[in-house]
Symmetry: C2
Subunit: 223 residues, 2 copies
């Protein structure tokens, strides 16, 4: 294994989005061992970069479910936000949806609060050129041309790392694509059933403790 | 004591900006004891909010050295960025200065990399209506009308807390104003000499370990 790609919310954080100390220690242990950690999140780039700095990860960063990356010292917007805005404008005529906090920082997608069932949103947006993800923290309308997997591949390759050498760890349905593409995939115990179903390994423990378990077991990091 | 106001870089992080686990535990301990933690930073609001979420602080947030606050569920820009931009445009004619990463997210001030000695910057900007801070991480050009102290006061009062009931902890010259205004002020051991000089208490330990020491000693938080 040459890199660890990891989701933030619900994976290295608890359900209230607090960073788990177990995961923090494990990720730093991996970095000390020369295994770079790549943050892969649905959150905005600024949040992702803050997490990267505070944790101390050296890998590049995938934000907005792949719609924005920080790679080779620069920001690239890969998702077309017009697709999401078009869908959102239709949706708000049908349901009382609202965008999450700091939505003006989103460059490639629209994220809305989880007050309306995701199934109702999917039905309302049938025929629209968007992907709809429910992460458990927000509902994301994204450009179907990009996802966490396609953007992680770009980022890893620019770091000189093959996807077959990446261990990916996640918890949610928007993590499926990047877990699928990685050489080895891990779902934490609290993950969505379909993620647990497709992952190479499901941890015994939840949230950050699951991340520590996987990094200890498969990257040989003593914590 | 009814609240703890704390700087981020060099106070709850180490010199490479990694979050100290000792500080993380102490801040969470304070929150568990019902003492809200208010983040007071020179960084942009998005970074400050990310730190707040990942640490799990319940207090409001002061960013950009007081130029931007998150208070009562809304963002307020208090510093006039035109003053900083005017000074910066003059400065770049004299010195090869450049802005730090993500400068387009700054709403009230200009932050520049520390390649030029701060004394040379101060001399070049004599007569300009800006405050110049060297935080050890960047040089900030800010609106003199606002600082971490004036904005912390606004934020604390909107939380129903008097400044006399706030313990403030910092490390750098841009922390002087908020330490001065707080009921009790703490400089971590690695702080600038002038901050150590004016603080009510200087911790024996550096960085996050100093934060833990102060929170244990003065807020009675067992960690």
């Amino acid at each position: 294994m040459r890199a660890i790609a990891v989701d933030i919310d619900g994976t290295i954080t608890d359900s209230s989005r607090k960073l788990c100390i177990s995961a923090l220690r494990a990720l730093r242990g991996a970095e000390r061992k020369g295994i770079p950690v790549i943050i892969v999140t649905g959150n905005v780039l600024c949040f992702a970069m803050a997490a990267s700095v505070l944790i101390g990860t050296s890998g590049d960063v995938v934000a907005e479910n792949g719609g924005v990356i920080y790679s080779d010292g620069g920001i690239r917007v890969l998702g077309d936000i017009e697709k999401a805005e078009t869908a959102y404008n239709h949706l708000r005529e049908i349901h009382p949806v609202r965008k999450v906090q700091f939505s003006d920082l989103r460059l490639s997608e629209v994220a809305i609060t989880r007050e309306i069932p995701v199934q109702a949103i999917r039905e309302a947006l049938e025929g629209f050129d968007v992907e709809v993800y429910d992460t458990g923290f927000a509902v994301h309308l994204t450009d179907p041309e990009v996802n966490k997997g396609s953007s992680l591949k770009l980022v890893a390759e620019s770091m000189g790392i093959e996807m077959s050498d990446v261990m990916a760890i996640g918890d949610s349905e928007n993590d499926i694509e990047f877990l699928e593409r990685a050489g080895f995939s891990v779902a934490v115990a609290n993950a969505d059933p379909e993620l647990r179903e497709m992952a190479d390994y499901v941890t015994a423990r939840e949230y950050g403790d699951g991340v520590r378990e996987a990094i200890h077991k498969f990257a040989g990091v003593d914590i």
